[in-house]
């Protein structure tokens, strides 16, 4: 890699503004993650956390702002440059996103077959090693449909780390899992960081998981960053929106009638 990270940030987002159609989703978001850091992005439904993740992955073009991964601004990269950068990125999607027509082993091997010319023996040993890491040893010949939810997430994680990425993105590792399996995944995330010095971004709304694994937590609310600080500082925050998220109280937003009616009637009732 000939990337430059002069300030030690593996991820550096500056003044990110994004829209879906006319609706602003992220508003002036600044976000960093240091190399080897576990950064948790937390927020309720509709806070913009999944949108931020999708932009970090280069799946959408932002309205404005910059997104630097390993020193390269992905908003300015060509398709070829982005393809090269992606070799250093692993992603475990919320639903696993495994290919149903392929075995677990074939799914995990896929990035190696796409991106490398390694010997077939090396590829198979590498993918089986990663299945060992996620406690799915011996499951390589099974089909995704035969796996439980927790196993699918672990298989997706094995595929995400098979290339030894510098950056690992994990969307909702705990969602839909029982507490024990969820705790095991948290342990696995910590182990991966310690062994490989990966920079790991985890999007979650599970508080327990967030506080267990995070070096720092970024709290998003209605498209803005409320706070980006250590887990302890977030836990101690007096900010009412953060307290409401931590204490699981329902939000009670002020309603702007003009904006609300405009949203409901836009392109239907014209002035």
């Amino acid at each position: 890699m000939n990337s430059q990270m002069p300030n030690g940030y593996a991820i550096e987002v500056e003044r990110l503004v994004t829209h879906y159609g006319p609706r602003k989703i992220l508003d002036d978001v600044n976000f960093t993650a240091r190399q080897g850091e576990i950064m948790v992005i937390m927020g309720g439904s509709g806070s913009g956390k999944s949108t931020l993740l999708r932009h970090l992955l280069g799946l959408h073009r932002p309205t404005s702002g910059s997104i630097k991964l390993l020193g390269q601004d992905i908003t300015k990269l060509s398709a070829d440059q982005m393809f090269d950068l992606r070799k250093n990125m692993g992603v475990a999607f919320q639903g696993g996103a495994l290919f149903n027509s392929m075995t677990v082993g074939e799914n995990v091997e896929l990035p190696l077959r796409e991106h490398t010319r390694l010997d077939d023996n090396t590829i198979r040993i590498m993918s089986r090693m990663k299945l060992e890491v996620v406690n799915l040893a011996g499951f390589e010949d099974m089909m995704p449909a035969e796996l439980s939810g927790g196993m699918i997430k672990r298989a997706a994680l094995a595929r995400a780390i098979v290339m030894d990425p510098k950056l690992l993105f994990f969307d909702e590792p705990s969602a839909g899992l029982d507490p024990v399996v969820s705790a095991e995944l948290d342990e696995l995330i910590l182990t991966l960081r310690d062994a490989m010095n990966m920079t790991i971004v985890v999007v979650t709304h599970e508080l327990e998981s967030a506080f267990k694994i995070a070096d720092r937590i970024t709290v998003l609310d209605q498209g803005r960053i409320l706070m980006s600080d250590t887990a302890a500082a977030v836990r101690a925050s007096e900010h009412p929106r953060i307290r409401s998220l931590l204490d699981r109280t329902p939000r009670n937003d002020a309603v702007n009638p003009d904006e609300y009616l405009e949203r409901l009637t836009r392109e239907i009732i014209r002035a």
């Binding site: 090396t122 090693m129 490989m196």
Partner: protein, 114 residues
């Protein structure tokens, strides 16, 4: 930029010694794999010195695994010597530190019979 890998080998009495130095990434590991498999002779002993490895990714570790299993099938001895910490971390992740024979130094390896 890639720094590459340097591989040296020598025969010394009852064992073959293979020294790997530098960075073993996915570009360098095919070269490491070939050197390891070429160095293996039936009913012999191969010591692989990893003290000068600055970085080894899972493709490099996979080559060590393949070589180790090939050695076992051949009835040969295979051990890793002076495994540098970055390599040890990757081995530990997949619990391979409990699978390979590891020696802290060449002297220890010789005392241990390779």
């Amino acid at each position: 930029m890639r720094d590459g890998v340097e591989i040296t080998s020598r025969k010394s009495g009852d064992f073959d010694w293979l020294g790997i130095a530098g960075e073993v990434d996915m570009h360098a590991s095919p070269q490491v794999r070939k050197a390891l498999l070429d160095a293996l002779q039936p009913k012999s002993a191969l010591l692989v010195d990893l003290s000068a490895v600055r970085y080894m990714d899972s493709s490099g570790v996979a080559c060590l695994v393949e070589a180790f299993q090939t050695a076992r099938k051949q009835g040969s001895r295979f051990a890793l010597v002076a495994v540098a910490q970055p390599v040890l971390n990757v081995l530990r992740l997949a619990r391979l530190d409990k699978v390979f024979t590891l020696y802290a130094s060449l002297d220890e390896a010789l005392a241990g019979g390779g």
